[in-house]
Subunit: 344 residues, 2 copies
């Protein structure tokens, strides 16, 4: 998708850096062969220009890491490596969607313990080798504390400070919410917008359609009115989105794949190329205190993006029902953060 | 890729029909869930218009069938079924890339015997249920004889007769050939064009770079001159492309996946939307006797496409080396055809 222009636009040449564990080096090289075999015109090194893209594929046989970056590999535009320094060298965009997968019966605490060392090593390599202001899209490091929190950055730090450059993925949940509303209303999903995922990328997340709208013959209308079924919006919709990943695993006997890749692509595209006017998307970003979310947390908010910068949507009415759901997810994030800090 | 507009253009809504065996119904439904979860704006049924797309996924755990077609499934634009009649109903484009996979130690004759019954059942469903002039892109039915051969169709039959509407995939081999030339020359693959795959989609195919050109600072130049290594062009290049599938399997321990999907998409896109001026691609089409290829065979030729019709490139100089390679692949196709006819 990246090398076809779906993430960075149809005219943006890309160089893909793919990172995987040493034991997966052969398979990763096979992916590189396939990228060459696909004869993708956008996939190329351009020593004379500043190249823009790279992908890191990370292990465990199941998930992939991506990142955009510079390379001198003119011929193929693909770097396949198990060396973090090489993988992150000069990258402008890093998509870190790999990590220790959650196995059946594993507690979140155990999962965090497995992922903290991966984080430490990669964060250090990113800091040393990536291009300045590299944008980082990631799945597993919700508990980290960026060097410069957003609020102080808006006062004195330069733009592009770390807190601004790191976002967490909740786009799959966001897209699932749009999909469920579209199915309920029997309308094309492209006509529905402004669902929100609040909180954690876990089952405590709060999928909220109370601000969503849908295009109808009578113009843009609130989903709440069109659905006219408060029970569905507060119960079935919420639990369907929260538990969709489990339902997909049950059907496919594998975790989400095409929808996860599609969401990772949508997230970065909107961050870099901007959200359409009047449309917001959900992203985990470091809280600036908006909506009473503590300023020490990454938390999924509705955001709009312009010129490569995200901003939290302000001024939304939040009722008591939403507030209690949002706080429950925030409490879970606080607990996870304290576990991670203890391990760190 | 189809639902992102990469096959039929960025503004073409599509409906995907996915076909799989009954034992894979759950997994197929999981794919449908993921397509809904990806919130793809182009993926939608539009009862008021003639919808254009559908995908058939076929199993054996490894490959997928695709086809474009009509549906009344307004909400999701996805039909997941194990019923051929439902799958092929009203489809405008059918992408048949599934079939019995070749296992280690299996002879081609055994493979054909496994695939003929699949062909019989699907061909009959296509004929009964697909839209008129449905375009069929396929991998396994090289040995079939269309109702109306190309030559007579050019004299008296209407356009869109069966021979014109069925093409076989050699695009992956074609793209691999471009990739190998680009690597050899150290140029972006988008600057190389007009490689040819002659013959069968098998190891007897003849990858031919003798008519290919590459864009250089001095303009468009013959690859033959730029490579200046006849031995490489006649030996290493040919065998690398022929054996690339095996090399990918060796590295990934799985057969080609992203490159195969990418090639299937390129093939249909170029067929429907046209090849760029001055550029040809390779497709298996029913021979009209061009280049002395017998008129009873599907055979991979260089073709250009315009307004949804392919034409074999005429007037290429073919030397004795190429002729002998082309004839060897034609002989193999004749043998395979006679095996298939005996089974039929």
């Amino acid at each position: 998708m990246i090398a076809r222009g779906l993430m960075l636009g149809p005219d943006q040449p890309v160089v893909l850096h793919m990172l995987d564990l040493p034991r997966a080096a052969d398979a990763l090289n096979g992916v590189k062969m396939e990228l060459v075999d696909a004869a993708l015109p956008l996939l190329r090194g351009m020593p004379a220009l500043q190249p823009l893209a790279a992908v890191f594929s990370f292990i465990a046989g199941c998930k992939a890491y991506f990142a955009l970056g510079a390379t001198t590999n003119f011929e193929t535009g693909v770097v396949a490596t198990s060396d973090e320094a090489e993988a992150f060298k000069g990258v402008n965009v890093a998509i870190l969607i790999g990590g220790w997968p959650r196995k059946e019966g594993m507690k979140r605490k155990d999962l965090t313990a497995k992922n903290v060392p991966i984080y430490k090593s990669q964060a250090s390599a990113l800091q040393q080798h990536a291009a300045p202001n590299c944008k980082v899209e990631q799945r597993f490091w919700w508990w980290l504390t960026p060097r410069t929190p957003t609020r102080s950055s808006s006062r004195s730090s330069p733009p592009g400070s770390p807190a601004k450059n790191i976002t967490c993925l909740t786009r799959l949940d966001h897209n699932r919410a749009l999909g469920q509303v579209a199915e309920k209303l029997g309308v094309p999903v492209g006509d529905v917008r402004n669902a929100i995922i609040w909180g954690n990328h876990s089952s405590t997340q709060f999928p909220d359609a109370s601000h969503a709208t849908a295009r109808t013959e009578l113009g843009e209308r609130p989903v709440k009115e069109l659905v006219a079924d408060e029970k569905w919006l507060k119960e079935e919709f919420v639990s369907t989105v929260q538990e969709r990943g489990v339902a997909v695993i049950k059907a496919r006997r594998q975790s989400s794949s095409l929808s996860a890749a599609s969401a990772a692509c949508d997230h970065m595209r909107d961050w870099i190329l901007g959200t359409p006017k009047g449309t917001w998307v959900s992203m985990g970003v470091f809280s600036d205190g908006s909506d009473r979310v503590p300023e020490v947390l990454f938390y999924s908010f509705p955001v709009t993006c312009e010129k490569g910068e995200w901003s939290i949507v302000q001024g939304l009415q939040i009722d008591d029902f939403a507030r209690s759901k949002m706080e429950a997810s925030g409490t879970e994030l606080m607990e996870e953060k304290s576990i991670a800090i203890n391990i760190l």
